[in-house]
Symmetry: C2
Subunit: 245 residues, 2 copies
């Protein structure tokens, strides 16, 4: 699959090229092209900000013109902060990356354009784009650093590659407690509570125990945690020290 190429058009600061490389590689992207960077490239400050990303990427390609940088690209996406008068489809970064992913899967070679720090992409740059990408942010404070804009769009791309399912409870190597173990625990807790006159009346006892079981069951204890809990009961009732941990 062709991953998208990131094209920075007339970036001003070498630092931001390095930070862009870091953000790209964080998200699994590695092809970076520059159009007429203001500072020479390669650049020491770019290397520092990349924290090693350049070493793990193909060489960055530098072009004089956007036409040159797009010579092998079939679909061009352009990020814009300001509203444009141009008649183009406009997509949220998220749906744009869905769209790009589909095209990339079918073998298309795609690119995403980002403008320089001061003024972004100009109208001529944007006329090369097939699809505009918008990142809806706080309208009262929307100016993103260049590398941060690259990060957000690359992150939307990365969801197609590095997605991880939610885990209700992250048990790892622990064993979830069986019904038997928790029933044993609740039963012991109930006996101890009864012995310590916790239940004001015998009639209230079943309801109070229901509430207590409900409360502790939300913990979804591991087997080890039932032992810890037994230890706590032993300790609080003065039967013995907490030896279960």
């Amino acid at each position: 699959m062709n991953k998208p190429v990131i094209i920075l058009v007339k970036p001003q600061l070498a630092e931001n090229i390095g930070a862009t490389a870091r953000a790209m590689l964080n998200c699994g992207l590695a092809d970076l092209r520059l159009v007429a960077p203001k500072q020479e490239f390669p650049h020491e400050r770019a290397n520092a900000m990349s924290v090693g990303a350049f070493d793990k990427m193909p060489p960055v390609e530098v072009f004089d013109s956007l036409e040159g940088a797009c010579h092998d690209i079939t679909t061009v996406y352009a990020t814009t902060a300001r509203k444009r008068d141009m008649v183009k489809p406009v997509m949220h970064a998220s749906s744009a990356m869905d769209d790009l992913f589909k095209r990339a899967q079918s073998g298309e070679k795609t690119a995403i354009l980002f403008g320089g720090e001061r003024a972004g992409l100009d109208n001529k740059d944007i006329s090369f784009a097939d699809i505009l990408i918008t990142i809806p942010l706080n309208p009262e404070f929307s100016s993103l650093n260049l590398a941060q804009a690259v990060l957000l769009v690359s992150y939307e791309w990365s969801k197609h590659t590095f997605d991880a399912p939610d885990e209700d409870i992250n048990y790892k190597d622990s064993i979830p407690a069986s019904g038997e173990k928790t029933a044993e625990l609740y039963s012991r807790l109930e006996s101890e509570l009864a012995a310590h006159k916790f239940f004001r009346t015998p009639e209230m006892r079943p309801t109070m125990m229901n509430n207590i079981r409900s409360m502790f069951s939300r913990m979804q204890m591991t087997e080890q945690e039932t032992k810890t809990f037994h230890g706590i009961i032993s300790c609080l009732t003065g039967k013995k020290g907490n030896t279960s941990q």
Copy 2:
């Protein structure tokens, strides 16, 4: 609605506190708390990196302990890069912010913890959390700058606030061309092509015109663009200069 509080636990560099504030405000978040920052705060370098964000936020609160910073919080989310052995639910940043948004809507006061630059959150910090947040990134290059981690999580939050629908074509003030206008254009194009012997045989003419109409209809022209196109035809056929723009 209670928006989430961002809590930086033992941040090392004042710059990153400033960059965090900028990223938060970009995404519409404004409540920032610090636990035992290594450098004094407020700090000149934090102000510089915030590009004015601090001026538009309530004062940043500084606490000695995480317990103090969480005193009024009901649900705590913690971001972790490394795998943890703790038995907690783990959610992708995206679903975690869906979850947080629902809680915030029902009046809960939530917070999101981020650890310091070097080591992240320690196990004690994480034991205060109800839900762990993971940001799946390139496993071979996953180290995010602190402010970038805040940006990604805040961005997932911001989707609930600043979302913007995709626009198939961004017509703005332009008028989409009517069927009449495009039919007129295609009809003129066909006449001119015929006059210039474009169609090799009369039999091929209908199919070729179908293809041409299909091709140009994908442009979804505006009314102005049909005029531009007429101008192009006039110009190419030598009838007159392009006066339609």
